[in-house]
Symmetry: C2
Subunit: 203 residues, 2 copies
């Protein structure tokens, strides 16, 4: 049974990659399942045996992206425990690395968020996905603060929400004005200030 499974994984991966291209260029609303199949070189049958809908495919894209990001952050944990000061730089660096094409990712993730604001079912699914990502990131922040004997004067979950809000807002400015606001520059300028202000030695 191995070959069919490998092939199914490969089909999903090619559909996800094709969808990312198509969505980025035509927008979430403007891209049809046919467009995605054409781009990836599959039939509609192949699409629907992998995803129930366009929404489900986007959520799978989000999941794949956040899984990759969390995996890379976790790989850094052993180093971070001995060098806690580098936490933010490492996380911010990964945000850029794990997401290859920031413009493409911004277009599709922002567009799906707008879709969710008009569609309660999509909002529910997106919120669930985002909550899982925040929970993983919060656990990492807690592990690192424990390893470095630091406590926060704000709930770690709120600090994670700040990182996400600032990153998403800053990315919009960076994409509109790449030379004036290099990717990550607002995060690098302000997150260390906040982290320092809310950190206290545990003992």
């Amino acid at each position: 049974m191995e070959p069919p499974k490998r092939s199914r994984t490969a089909t999903r991966a090619r559909l996800l990659a094709g969808a990312l291209e198509v969505f980025a260029e035509r927008g979430f609303a403007g891209a049809s399942v046919e467009d995605i199949c054409d781009q990836a070189g599959f039939t509609r049958g192949a699409f629907y045996s992998n995803f129930g809908s366009k929404d489900e495919l986007v959520l799978a894209l989000f999941q794949a992206t956040t899984d990759r990001l969390l995996e890379q952050i976790e790989a850094l944990l052993p180093d971070l425990a001995t060098q806690p000061g580098t936490l933010l730089d490492a996380v911010l660096g990964l945000l850029d690395e794990a997401i290859g094409d920031q413009r493409q990712w911004h277009l599709i993730s922002t567009e799906f968020t707008l879709h969710a604001l008009r569609n309660p079912e999509a909002a529910r699914a997106l919120n669930e996905q985002r909550a899982m990502f925040r929970a993983s990131l919060t656990r990492l922040v807690e592990e690192i603060s424990a390893a470095s004997d630091v406590t926060f004067s704000v709930p770690p979950e709120l600090f994670v929400r700040l990182i996400i809000a600032l990153h998403e807002g800053a990315r919009s400015q960076s994409l509109l004005e790449p030379t004036k606001v290099p990717a990550g520059s607002l995060e690098h300028a302000f997150l260390p200030i906040v982290l320092d202000a809310v950190s206290q030695p545990s003992h």
Copy 2:
């Protein structure tokens, strides 16, 4: 010549209000000039004698919204000079007040930003409009810091970019999860921390 001018202003205002409704419900790409005219009760002729294109109308909406916001902030200036500590609360309060329907405004402004990321001419016009808004806000921050004898360890323009990035990113979370992230809560939790950390007495 007064009545025609008043009437022209009223026509523009009704077209702007109609467009806000139509864009919020159908999206920027999905809304046609006809839809906007139907909503506002005007002909296409009336539309094109006021706006060269849909893009131009959205930029006029941005201008009207930011003008209203800056006007309200400026009205507060005399009080702020004597009570500098209330600056952020006042500005954050106005962001909510000046923009009546946050959801509607988020949908249209985010959608036009995505449009600009695919269209260099729209990007140029949007960047110009955003630069003017940032310049006005930066001047206000500088006036207030001078009046309260405080200097910043970061350029005021960068602090303004932070406020905008955090506000835009936080608004997305607030609209997706209104009860978990009340409007303005991330800004209120973190901007005073940053302001305090970057402020130094002038003498």
